[in-house]
Amino acid sequence: MSTEAIPAERPKRNYNALFGLTLLALLVLLWIILSVATPSFASANNISNLLRQGSMIAILAVGQTFVIITGGIDLSVGAVVGFATVIVAMLINAGVPVFLAILVTLLVGVAIGMFHGFGIVRMGLPPFIITLATLTSLRGIGLLMTNGNSISINNDAFQLFSRSSFLGVPNLFWMVILVGIPAYIFLHHSRWGRYLFSVGSNAEASRLSGVNVQRTIYMAYTLSGLCAAFVGVLLASRIGIGNPTQAEGWELQAIASSVIGGTSLFGAVGSVHGPLLGAFILATINNGANLLNVNAFWQRIITGVLIIVIVYFDGLRRRGK
């Protein structure tokens, strides 16, 4: 037996790191091209703007990735964001302290996630179906609660937060770091992270090995709901209104970011840094296209093409060539 001779140490880790670097290189390349192509791109103002734009999708993508790793999907996140803006706006306008209002909104996100877990684990519904159902009904509930009107938030401190910066970096981007670091540790260095992967790979084998599969699924959707509610708070702070129809289509952007970041929709493959980079790549493309006066319709097409290209090359390399 020649097991001692170990030539190729850690193909998997290397691969993950390599893919991350490739994405980073792509992002930097885009930035360089855009800085050359348009003078306004590299301005401090625009970069801050770009970071703000990308941050919210990035946080959504992290939560979404947990779910996708288990082999599921969460279509509700855009609707949860919209719904959360309504909750937080109503609470603040009702005079609830901002801190408490945020906490309650986050708990609403947790509850929605738990409901998804319940539907999947207890009722045996496919993730696609249960989260699609929440997507439409949450928008409906939000509209009922607001009578179809927007609620403008009358609290300046709350709104100031997302407009200010700390150490020259927009607060919203700090929030990505605030979410990203614990998420990274959770996914790659805790046993719960390992369980997410194992459940996504083979739920039956995991169960027989003593992994609590049901709890793992609850956890994934709860975290996704939590991330979405958090993004809802940030969005409310950024534009100062609560409106249930906001964040339309953000679930698709989150999924796209995750997939561009190397997450496999078949489950059991994914990371935290990948989706974050994916989100900022998408944000850069949108931002650059705006600056270059590219028709907004084209932006959508470019995003679609980009998804196909990146996932295709990723798949090629995964298969070993």
Binding site: I6, R194, S206
Partner: protein, 517 residues
């Protein structure tokens, strides 16, 4: 073009003894593994040629190259005097090369008949002739002497029966060269006999057979010649009459094994587990005890209810009646979680469906049950994660380039070792091993049995399920025989003879699938 090749060389024109297929410097490299070093070997028309070797020696790789499933790195394959590219399975089939692979690669959700004609469906004006296909398939199956229905969904059959269907499927398409990769791993003795009859008949019809197995007695029963692979190298080829068991084992692992079934006897300790009149899906009214320091063997045909019985003990399925007692007290085992907390461990029967996370690293698969132990609070100790995984890899000699390689890249037998290995560090009190040595080579089998002894000496008890009689016979202190969901006989260590045990397991006519139990 390929079909004209077939017409020019119909199977009947082959004279025995002529070389039909020749490998010239055939080689295969995977990233990180040199699976097959240049191999030269010639197969004669209508011979049964056995290939043996350790887990990971390169047997399945050789087959994948010959059937066009994988591209080769270098070398030539000469088919009937002409080089063959063998780039796709389709091309291999057109030449008349077919295989029954180690893992059944058919569609579980389709019917037996649909599987048999997959890719060559009978259709008229684009409409499938379903009835005609079922009739045709049934005729082929009956003709081969298999007692199986053609209209049922494949997934409803046992793995062994699926394997027979795969064999039947391979025989129907103008086959001239047929490869069996460990076909009997999941077969009962009776099914194996049916298969052997089929193989001999094909040989009589001029088909050349490659037969891969870890069971020496089968090789000697069936083969004309045998080739040995070790670490991707062809060590030698022998005529079956001019070699023996010991020589082959020596060639395979480069050392000799005095005793495969290493059996130590311990004085049994306290009763760990007791089942009292337990019933559930697939078994009825089963009572037995397992004590510390003993191996309780469960023998029976596949489908006799043994796996259902142990998975119920393990909380995977609900019991319908009876009691489970753990260390003398009645317990409710409602989930695997409860079972594991009590101190049970289960290595399940099917490594693909229940055993492994195939697209995850070997290390993660090995550590899955013990992550709780090797993490403090939330964080995993990555040092411990590495040492634990490496320890099991060394312990069971799992052949993998590193612990980070994906489980799917390991050979069948090495995957099986992961399913066993993950529990060895767990510190459970009762180990349930369901067909633990399916596809495992002789050397490692001996090693696994030695580890059983170690577990026993530490005061654990073992339930060992096996459809391979010699294994339970030589290892079990208490041997229970199951038939159709009932425990029909109990023996002590080596107190009955093989014949009697077999008869008890079979008794009347073998059950037809379709699930009346």
């Amino acid at each position: 073009m390929t079909s004209t090749a077939q017409e020019l060389h119909p199977a009947l024109t082959l004279e025995p003894g002529r070389t039909i297929l020749e490998l010239k410097g055939l080689e295969k490299r995977y990233p990180g593994t040199h699976a097959l070093k240049p191999v030269n070997l010639a197969f004669k028309a209508s011979e049964i040629h056995a290939i043996v070797g350790e887990n990971g020696a390169g047997k399945s790789t050789l087959i994948k190259l010959l059937t066009g499933v994988m591209p080769r790195t270098s070398g030539d394959v000469i088919w009937e005097g002409k080089p063959a590219a063998l780039a796709t399975p389709h091309e291999a089939m057109a030449l008349g090369i077919n295989a029954v692979h180690q893992e059944v690669v058919l569609c579980r959700h389709l019917t037996v008949a649909a599987n048999m004609f997959l890719g060559e469906e009978d259709s008229r004006f684009g409409i499938l002739q379903q009835r005609a296909m079922v009739r045709e398939a049934q005729k082929i199956i009956d003709d081969l002497g298999f007692d199986l229905p053609a209209h049922v969904v494949l997934g409803d059959l046992t793995i062994g029966q699926q394997q027979l269907i795969a064999a039947a499927r391979a025989t129907v398409r103008g086959t001239k060269f047929l490869i069996f990769d460990e076909p009997t791993a999941y077969l009962t003795r009776k099914e194996a006999d049916q298969l052997f009859t089929l193989i001999r008949r094909l040989k009589g019809e001029g088909v050349t057979i490659i037969y891969i197995s870890h069971r020496m007695e089968e090789v000697f029963e069936l083969a004309d010649r045998v080739s040995v692979l070790r670490d991707g190298t062809l060590v030698g080829t022998r005529n079956i009459a001019e070699t023996n068991d010991a020589e082959l084992v020596k060639m395979m692992i480069n050392r000799s094994i005095e005793q495969v079934y290493h059996k130590e006897h311990f004085t049994p300790g306290a009763t760990l587990l007791e089942a009292r009149n337990l019933s559930g899906k697939g078994f009825e009214n089963v009572s037995m005890t397992v004590r510390a320091g003993e191996i309780v063997g469960l023998y029976g045909l596949i489908g006799a209810g043994r796996s259902e019985f142990v998975t119920t003990l393990y909380g995977r399925h609900r019991k319908s009646a009876g009691q489970i007692l753990w260390e003398g007290k009645e317990v409710q085992v409602n989930s695997e979680h409860d079972a594991i907390r009590l101190g049970m461990a289960l290595a399940p029967e099917s490594r693909r469906d229940q055993g492994l996370c195939l697209n995850l690293p070997v290390g993660l698969n090995l550590n899955l049950p013990i992550y709780k132990r090797i993490s403090s609070n939330l964080l995993i100790s990555s040092a411990q994660e590495k040492t634990e995984a490496d320890r099991q890899i060394a312990n069971l000699r799992i052949k993998t380039p590193t612990r980070n390689a994906l489980a799917s890249s390991l050979s069948g037998g090495n995957q099986q070792k992961i399913v066993i290995g993950r529990w060895l560090a767990h510190g459970a009190k009762l180990f349930i091993f369901d067909e633990p040595t399916v596809g495992v080579d002789v050397g490692t089998k001996a090693e696994i049995y030695r580890l059983f002894g170690e577990l026993l000496s530490k005061g654990a008890g073992i339930i060992l399920i096996s459809s391979y009689l010699p294994e339970v016979y030589e290892l079990a202190d208490t041997l229970h025989v199951f038939r159709r969901g009932k425990l029909v006989a109990t023996h002590g260590f080596r107190t009955a003879n093989h014949e009697d045990i077999l008869n008890q397991a079979l008794a009347e006519k073998q059950e037809k699938p379709g699930g009346q139990i």
